[in-house]
Point group: C2
Chain length 444, copies 2
């Protein structure tokens, strides 16, 4: 039987193992951490995930869509919370479209179960990758407990071991390997809004809540148990940055003043604040993504991005779909398929990295801005009238399979058009006039 | 006696050891390679260096200028070699200004001798840096021969260990360390033009020779022994790239057609071609450059750049001058000095990285371009008439101590002005008219 090794049993690694298994491979997955299905979850570093069309497609292709649907909560719109407590709404897409809140840990457990159910997938836990042989396409792992070493079968090795990938680190030492790790000014801390005593959600369940405040923002995504996982994205430095919020009083005062309605819902604020770490956010880019026709990186290992477009997991899952398609096209000629995979995916990894950073500005700043919301309304109206002419950037990224790089380019074209429309005098009063739609049609 | 450790006895490490010694430190320098003064030099990876004002200032400050002058050859101008063998000339600066050709190995040996002469500097060879303790400001080294381990004194540790710095690699693993390594499309190979039988130079001695050919270029810098060190900068890929030049016939044919006059001077071409490796070119950026007020990076370890502005060594030497000035200003308050050093130097490291890449385009392409040469003539004329208004970018970088970032900004201002001047109809006929100088005065 054909053999393959996957390093890392995270979301992408577990899913890719299923893909390989469906192709007839006996797959060994090596994971450095203990089995999260047995150990208690280390919370506080999750950032709840938003599963959208690209992710669903990858799951559907290997028959996992139904099972995941059971643990996913649809979010149809953004709910923006102003300082005075007033709410504004912004649908994510058309009627019936939604992004889905899933818990990283929960989803990962389901994917591991489904991978193991395949029969040909074995997940080995507490196996830390110690060295990688790029020539042979194998790796050596050390058992964290017994210190015993195992070397994987030679041939095909996949690094799905995340932003700090051990497989990539070995590739980094080869000549002409381009690499960058860029930490942004902001870090994050996980907080929570607990359920009502009856288990219901304290705020609108089927929505992603945002408290946009310019330099920082709080978001909340619903969980199945009635709670919300909240994430504060916040600069390290500055007057009220993480470093400056060094007493309980300062934390409470900051929340009371900045997120008053959220503060009321978070009696557990200080407990969460102390329990959960402040974590950094990194953007990782590299090239090549494959080596010797035997080793390939997928997911965060090749393109770690900031979480602001909800696309990190979706992009990683799309790596699987695309790679799988290329394997069909090439009759599983791995060296050829790996070349095509990295050449086709790299521009898309770069594009979603840029888009995610740009969406941060939108989320923390513009979602509280009247002109921005008006722009979105005009776009939506035009898109409804002329769907063949205009798919908003957010929809291209979230509800389509248009390659990210193309979506980004189309978004830039739309920006230029909308800049002209928004500069029309009194646009805020005239936006519903027919001539505005005509002007857009002319410009498109 | 105060103690300090320097990792790497290259150009910057040897010089920085002298600076520390002058400040009253007992300095241990650990170098991974054998003592090049005893072993035979491994040639072929040198790229002869061009020492210019920033470098000279750093040497002068610790009294090393005279000794280095003895092994440096002034180059007053660029000599451009066209395919038909015709020559064009471009002075580097004003009358009397020059950049100086020095051999990397020769200069390094002189600097090591001078450092050891200080009395307080000990250079330990074949000591590979195995681990770095960023908290304590010390490092552990393994002797390549005996495998014996030494740990340096705690307190102050300086990483001058080049583009692949072991000290930086440890810093890279700390949270929020931004880092990038970017390989350019081009690599390089060292070649040579040997002296005449009487020991004289075969082509103009006091010049930097360039064979600009668009996608590739050959340069030659004079040596004391009558030879020239030549470097071919050349893409890896493409029809005549390094990878395609895979037989002697192809190499010879490429040189005959592309650099006919140089080919005549290089009967040893194929010998050099096979003996010398094809080496890659990398740009490295990172931040921070210091850690815990105890560890600091200088030179290529913090900002490796491409060699096209002749500023790699000069920038590293300027790190020493600037750091030393800051130590005076802060009364040797190291934590404070390290903060100021990295904040003041980082933008300049980034600027010279950008400028060096830009100069590649200029050297390989524009130096063979009539409009570009005209632009330079006009600039030079204006600069002579109004030296207070206009110092050409090349002169700011090479013959001044204006911070690189400021020079870059001023260069951009000049570009905008020259774009207007060059778009004047018939500028090639009218450039010596008074009105052109008046127009420039008006725009400046």
């Amino acid at each position: 039987m054909k053999k393959a090794t996957v390093v890392g049993a995270g979301l992408v690694g577990s899913l890719w193992a299923v893909y390989l298994s469906k192709r007839g491979y006996k797959v060994d997955v090596f994971e450095a951490r203990p089995d999260m299905r047995k150990a208690s979850l280390s919370a506080g570093r999750s950032i709840n995930l938003a599963l959208s069309d690209r992710g669903w497609k990858a799951l559907e292709k290997v028959g996992l869509k139904e099972q995941i649907h059971e643990v996913a909560i649809p979010m149809h719109r953004r709910v923006m919370h102003a300082v005075d407590g007033s709410l504004t709404y912004q649908p994510y897409g058309k009627e019936g479209q939604a992004i889905y809140s899933v818990s990283r840990g929960g989803l990962n457990q389901v994917l591991m179960n489904l991978a193991e159910k395949e029969g040909n997938v074995n997940i080995h836990f507490e196996q830390k990758c110690q060295s990688v042989d790029l020539e042979k396409g194998s790796a050596t792992f050390v058992n964290r407990d017994t210190k015993e070493k195992i070397t994987s079968a030679e041939g095909l090795l996949f690094g799905t071991d995340g932003a700090f990938s051990a497989v990539r680190k070995t590739m980094q030492r080869t000549d002409r390997f381009t690499y960058s790790q860029e930490y942004i000014e902001h870090g994050y801390k996980e907080l929570s809004i607990l359920p009502n005593p009856d288990g219901s959600h304290k705020i609108e369940k089927n929505a992603l809540h945002i408290w946009p405040r310019g330099e920082f923002m709080l978001i909340a995504l619903p969980n199945m148990d009635g709670s919300f996982t909240c994430t504060l994205f916040h600069p390290y430095g500055g007057e009220v940055g993480f470093d400056a919020l060094d007493t309980d009083e300062k934390v409470v005062s900051f929340f009371k003043n900045t997120f008053p309605d959220a503060y009321e819902l978070m009696p557990n604020l200080l407990e969460d604040w102390h329990e959960n770490p402040t974590s950094s956010l990194v953007i990782i880019r590299c090239f090549p993504w494959t080596k010797n026709g035997k080793v390939a990186l997928l997911g965060d290992a090749s393109h770690a991005i900031v979480p602001f477009y909800g696309q990190g997991m979706n992009a990683g899952f799309e790596d699987c779909t695309v790679f799988d398609e290329i394997l069909d096209e090439t009759n599983e000629d791995w060296p050829e398929a790996m070349k095509r995979y990295e050449i086709s995916r790299k521009p898309n990894g770069d594009a979603i990295a840029d888009l995610a950073m740009r969406n941060f500005v939108e989320m923390r700043d513009l979602t509280g801005d009247a002109e921005f919301l008006l722009r979105k309304k005009i776009e939506r109206k035009f898109s409804t009238l002329h769907p063949e002419k205009w798919l908003p950037l957010y929809s291209m990224v979230t509800f389509s399979h248009i390659p990210y790089a193309e979506a980004k380019k189309e978004g830039e074209r739309q920006d230029a058009i909308m800049a002209k429309i928004m500069s029309i005098p009194n646009i805020e009063e005239r936006w519903e006039d027919d001539e505005i739609m005509e002007k857009m049609l002319e410009l498109s």
